[in-house]
């Protein structure tokens, strides 16, 4: 068992009759980038709001840096940084003023204030725009400033709530680079995302949440390996009824899933199974629009764990 920096035990958070988080248990080790993946409304942001002391749990406990998020809320706040989903900033202030205010609220003064402002301004990389009002910034600039503000007190635990939602590819890549740099420095990062690729690229471990429950957890490669080494994916042209049953008995088939008109067959050796699958479907009179072999993605992990796909949520 490693050194757990974040521990959630039986966490429940209700809003009236709606159960946003439903008996969540998870632990994040020091220095780990933990990707918290799930569709909109799955409970990701609610979990982050509890962990960052913005919400009280309805039931269960959460500890950050060994401190209870309710009983030791002020101490927890000193340890964490948070970059929110929408890069929430005051548009009537300049970038420099936002960072200065943030640093002062963490008690930074004098030389340590000047040094940290210089560090995080370099990180934000806004050039002369640092002295312009935030209202004039692009989405990418706001996100970089928000991330810099979250790091101004040099926290060792960082929460990034969907840090790239709505960003252009260049800005997204910049945020990914920053997360990787933070990992290189040993920070613990709790990253929520609805983007499969983001979770796959950045995370040491991924937890998949659906309807407020953790449905599967592990390193991305291991999770994908559990689905199977190869996937034969068949896009069916007509009525897909009976397709799953048709191929499930073929030798070498580990698992078969049918969603809409897409048939996904897990196997150890995809290349050898393509032919038999095509033949069996033709024998059963099922029309095949396309047939491909690929390695599993986290979407396949999500499908296996929940019975439905996340990809629709992911499309940008």
């Amino acid at each position: 068992m490693g050194d757990h920096v974040i521990e959630i035990d039986g966490l429940v958070r209700r809003f009236g009759d709606v159960v946003a988080v439903d008996g969540l248990n998870l632990a994040v080790e020091r220095g780990e980038v933990y990707g918290f993946l799930g569709p909109n409304g799955a409970g990701k942001s609610t979990t982050v709001r509890v962990l960052t002391t913005l919400l009280s749990p309805t039931a269960g406990t959460a500890r950050v840096g060994g401190l209870d998020v309710v009983a030791d809320a002020v101490k927890v706040r000193l340890r964490i940084g948070l970059a929110l989903q929408e890069a929430s900033l005051d548009e009537k202030q300049t970038g420099r003023e936002i960072l200065d205010l943030q640093a002062r609220l963490y008690g930074l003064r004098g030389e340590s204030l000047r040094r940290r402002l210089a560090d995080v301004m370099a990180l934000a990389d806004l050039g002369d725009a640092i002295d312009r009002l935030v209202g004039t910034y692009s989405g990418g600039m706001r996100r970089r400033l928000d991330l810099a503000a979250a790091l101004v007190h040099d926290p060792d635990i960082l929460f990034l709530d969907e840090p790239t939602t709505g960003l252009d590819p260049v800005s997204r890549t910049a945020v990914w680079g920053e997360v990787q740099r933070l990992r290189g420095r040993g920070a613990t990062v709790f990253l929520t995302t609805q983007y499969l690729e983001e979770a796959d690229v950045l995370s040491d471990r991924v937890g998949i949440i659906d309807d407020g429950k953790l449905v599967v957890e592990g390193p991305p490669a291991e999770l994908k390996h559990r689905v199977g080494r190869d996937l034969v994916v068949v896009e069916l042209g007509g009525d897909p009824a009976g397709a799953a049953e048709a191929v499930s008995g073929l030798p070498g088939v580990d698992d078969v899933r049918l969603t809409d008109h897409s048939l996904v067959v897990a196997t150890a050796n995809g290349a050898s199974l393509v032919g038999p699958v095509a033949v069996r479907l033709a024998e059963k009179g099922l029309e095949t629009a396309s047939l491909t072999v690929r390695t599993p993605t986290l979407d396949d992990v999500f499908l296996e764990a929940t019975g439905h796909r996340l990809r629709g949520e992911e499309e940008r």
Partner: protein, 274 residues
């Protein structure tokens, strides 16, 4: 005071930054600086705040001066200066900024820091005090221009400004409460409507002795009536401590109620200890 040195041998925090709660006064000062900066960046805010008192002052003098001055001892230009002050300072607050903070999530960004929760509101109120005092001075200058003089001299003038500002601050509690309870800018703007019964069911336009029936009875219960009586005493009567005390008590009483509402709304909005 809790002090946590955020250092981590693993890397993050290696710079050895000392993150700690900065203290209540420092928190208020930090939030107030931001509120004052935003005030200076919205000079358009001053337009309506000055237009309405000047407009009603001119209209009221033009239409009611002859009638009102039939009451013995009434100098209507002096009589209406406190009304202009109330028009200028009532409803002036940074609640519009606070509600945007709530809506955009910037309040959450601040709440994740170790800032004292009450400092978030008090810091904004510092900017309100500055603005309310500034507006009061402008209206008093307008009175001087049309020939109004203070029977109580410079000390009376200072007390006049202090009580006016106290009233302005008392009313800020209402829009802050609405901002924190609803997070809705339209609701905050609508809170200004509460101002009308406060002002119009009073002796704002004619002396109470000239009011009749139900309006006179309501005015007798309205704290703004006592506020106006006290402010008028400082201008026209002299050191009438009964009236002046009534004005101060009215402003203080409303402050207690509205501030209690605002800080209760803050407690319900934020989570965890102060």
């Amino acid at each position: 005071m809790t002090t946590t040195t955020v250092t981590d041998a693993a890397g993050a925090g290696a710079a050895g930054v000392l993150a700690r709660p900065s203290g209540f006064a420092a928190d208020v000062a930090t939030i107030a600086r931001r509120a004052l900066r935003s005030l200076l960046r919205e000079p358009e805010f001053l337009g309506p705040a000055l237009f309405f008192p000047l407009f009603f002052y001119v209209i009221n003098i033009g239409s009611l001066q002859k009638v009102a001055e039939q009451v013995p001892g009434v100098d209507y230009k002096a009589f209406e200066v406190p009304v202009a002050i109330i028009f200028a300072v009532t409803g002036v607050s940074r609640a519009s900024v606070l509600v945007l903070d709530v809506q955009r999530g910037y309040l959450d960004k601040l709440l994740v820091t170790p800032v004292r929760r009450t400092a978030l509101l008090l810091g904004m109120m510092v900017a309100d005090i500055v603005l309310v005092f500034f507006l009061s001075v402008l209206v008093v200058c307008m009175g001087f221009i049309v020939g109004v003089r203070f029977q109580t001299g410079p000390l009376g003038l200072l007390l006049f400004l202090a009580i006016s500002s106290m009233w302005g601050m008392a009313f800020t509690g209402i829009p802050y409460t609405v901002a924190l309870r609803t997070g809705n800018p339209a609701a905050v703007n609508s809170s200004f409507l509460l101002f009308f019964p406060f002002l119009f069911f009073t002796s704002a336009f004619v002396p109470r002795s000239a009011m009749t029936g139900w309006l006179g009875a309501i005015a007798g219960w309205n704290p703004v009536t006592y506020l106006l009586d006290g402010l008028r005493a400082l201008i026209s009567t002299g050191w009438d401590w009964g009236a002046i005390g009534g004005a101060a008590a009215a402003a203080a009483g409303i402050s207690v109620v509205t501030f209690w509402m605002a800080f209760a709304a803050l407690r319900s909005r934020v989570n965890g200890p102060d």
